[in-house]
């Protein structure tokens, strides 16, 4: 097992190397004058003259290895980036004026919070429902739930998000249309801003109110996949010999389902959950975009559109690393939860 993990880790490094090369080359194909323009726009507020700014920019580009667009220039720039990346320095985000790791660290947690709560909700609804559907296969509930799940899977996030905004935010006015809370956590008492109990709860409730719509969009979109997965696996377990044995020895149906079936259904589910790692931390780009949430997805989206090379590089590598870890973790978890599985290196 240890040998297997070491082998997989080495392979992962190779994969990440390949991913970074492709990404870097692709990003360097962005016309350099575009990056310069974007830099000028984002740094225009200073009083410096244009020549001064151009000179500054050249210095910065040279420092990051972006000044030479020839083949060897790109190779050199890549290794400069790689050297810094391995030391934990992902470069500076031109658009946000901070280091990339600071940008990711700052905006990641909102995305993580939303995705995490959405994931918990999905599991609470989808897993029992999936098992119930499998136990009553071809029943009415099974039919309805399966069709609804398929509809949920088919909905594009931008369509559902906009429909929700139109219905619940605009027509009914239950939720804010976009953005985060407008309330402040403090209350002004005698000219001083103090956190009181009521202002604190106001803030929290408003915070939650802003997140309900995006969260429900995310839950509806991905609940179908999880439910169908649970259903398929439960069906497989239900056909297993040990379930027949359990029934034959006279166990009640409840005990069969909740003790014998349920536990074995969890095996593939645990591994499946490892694959959600990238989406858990990487943010939902489109959903965040629609609801104007300052999560990492939207920040990265705007950065990439603005030709922010290092942010694009950093964000995509972040996702790639999470994907690699997720896959590796899934394989290891598979061996951990199912003793029949042996990992051979």
């Amino acid at each position: 097992m240890v040998k297997y993990i070491i082998k997989r880790l080495l392979l992962s490094i190779l994969i990440l190397f390949g991913v970074s090369v492709i990404l870097y080359v692709l990003l360097r194909f962005m016309p350099s004058n575009f990056i310069e323009d974007q830099y000028m726009i984002s740094h225009a507020q200073g009083g410096a003259s244009e020549e001064q700014m151009k000179a500054d920019l050249q210095l910065i580009l040279a420092e990051y290895g972006l000044d030479d667009d020839s083949f060897w220039g790109i190779v050199k720039g890549y290794f400069m980036w790689l050297g810094k990346f391995l030391q934990g320095d992902m470069g500076e985000s031109f658009k946000y004026g901070k280091s990339v790791q600071a940008v990711i660290g700052q905006y990641m947690w909102l995305s993580f919070g939303i995705s995490f709560v959405a994931l918990i909700l999905e599991m609470i609804i989808a897993i029992p429902l999936g098992i119930k559907c499998a136990v009553n296969q071809y029943g009415k509930l099974d039919y309805v739930a399966t069709v609804l799940c398929m509809v949920g899977i088919a909905f594009p996030s931008f369509f559902l998000g906009n429909l929700f905004i139109k219905w619940f935010a605009v027509d009914l006015g239950w939720f804010p249309v976009q953005g985060m809370t407008t309330e402040v956590i403090t209350e002004v008492i005698d000219g001083e801003a103090v956190i009181t109990v009521s202002s604190f709860f106001n803030y929290i409730f408003d915070y939650i109110r802003c997140l309900i719509l995006p969260m429900s969009v995310m839950v509806i979109l991905s609940i179908g996949g999880l439910m169908r997965y649970t259903r398929t696996n439960t069906l497989e377990v239900l056909n297993a010999d040990y379930i027949r044995t359990a029934r034959a020895k006279g166990l009640s149906e409840g005990k069969v389902v909740y003790k014998h079936v349920f536990r074995n259904t969890m095996i593939p589910l645990v591994t499946q959950l490892s694959f959600t790692l990238p989406s858990l931390f990487g943010g939902a780009m489109i959903t965040e975009q629609i609801f104007s949430l300052p999560g990492i997805g939207q920040i990265a989206y705007n950065g990439m559109l603005a030709g922010d090379i290092f942010l694009a590089m950093g964000y995509n590598m972040f996702i790639a690393v999470l994907t690699v870890i997720g896959v590796l973790f899934a394989d290891i978890m598979y061996a951990v939860v199912d003793p029949r599985v042996k990992l051979v290196g």
């Binding site: 392979l11 069709v147 990439m304």
Partner: protein, 363 residues
Amino acid sequence: MEEKEKIAQPAEENAAEAKSNFNDNLHGESLADRTKVLSPWATVMKRFFRSKLSVIGLVTIIFLFLFSFVGPLFSPWAANGGKVIDYNPALIIDQYSYPTIEYTVNGVKYSAMDLTITAPDFVRLGGISWSHWLGTDASGYDVLTRLMLGGRISLTIGFVVVILETVIGVVLGGLAGYFGKWVDNLIMRIVDILSCIPTLPIMLILSVIFTESGLGGSISKLYYMMIFLCAIGWTGTARLVRGQILTLREQEFMLAAKASGLSTGSKIFKHLMPNVVPQLIVSMTLGLGSVILMEATLGFLNLGAPLGTATWGNLINLASTSEYREYYPNLWIGAGICITLAILAFNFVGDGLRDAFDPKMKR
């Protein structure tokens, strides 16, 4: 449930008949003459059409195709790409009535059109009417016609991308599975790398690159992006084909093929590939939905085809303008429904095919 029992009954009768046939056999008539043997494909078709959801999916797909490819023939506006009126204020005043104000000056009644209330854009955004079932948009296009024309591009792109991805995936996956060793290692590492690259961000970066390289204004930008989508999207098919071939390679019929001295090409394409076709058809059908979704996502983010082009993605892009989202749902809901229906239908058909192909499913 009831239906399935009804179908099950004749099967039993058949079995009884077959039994009696077997007895008759002694009198000189062979079993094969009496019983009807279904070919594997006919069995698959029979199973497929037995599932209600698959049939609903198939009907929806046919409807969407007729809607997109035949529908425009019945639209009076289709010839101009859906354009109803030119941006000519005189024509606009002619076609749409501004609110009229009536007033009296010195006993003489005047009536005038109030041009202050409605800006030209506002007027061209006609609501739902008999001649425009989904209204007209801000550039004076008939939305329903645009929806049909958009379907042509979106559906065609879906099919072309999926077919290209499958061809690349089959060839590379087949090579990896058949030859093994370093070929397998090399191809599978490429697959690993490509499947780690996040698709949407890459498409975003590509869109920026193409736009900045001067392709922004033409539809070929969308085509180039779709080529890149194929270039990173074939990995799933390759994995599937490789896995199948790895198991098939060890089976007896391949040993027989080897023993009869067949060429490598004939072994791969005549004996291995036909066994992978069922899985390929399923993955292609399911893949169609995801390509259509990708095109729509790009269109929604305004990264796909240039704005004037009608694709489903570009039409739903209007929803990102808050004025349209709030007051003119007729402009974008149609496109959203079309995209959702297409994805749903392809998923239904894909699932139905998977069950129909599965030899373990008895019914």
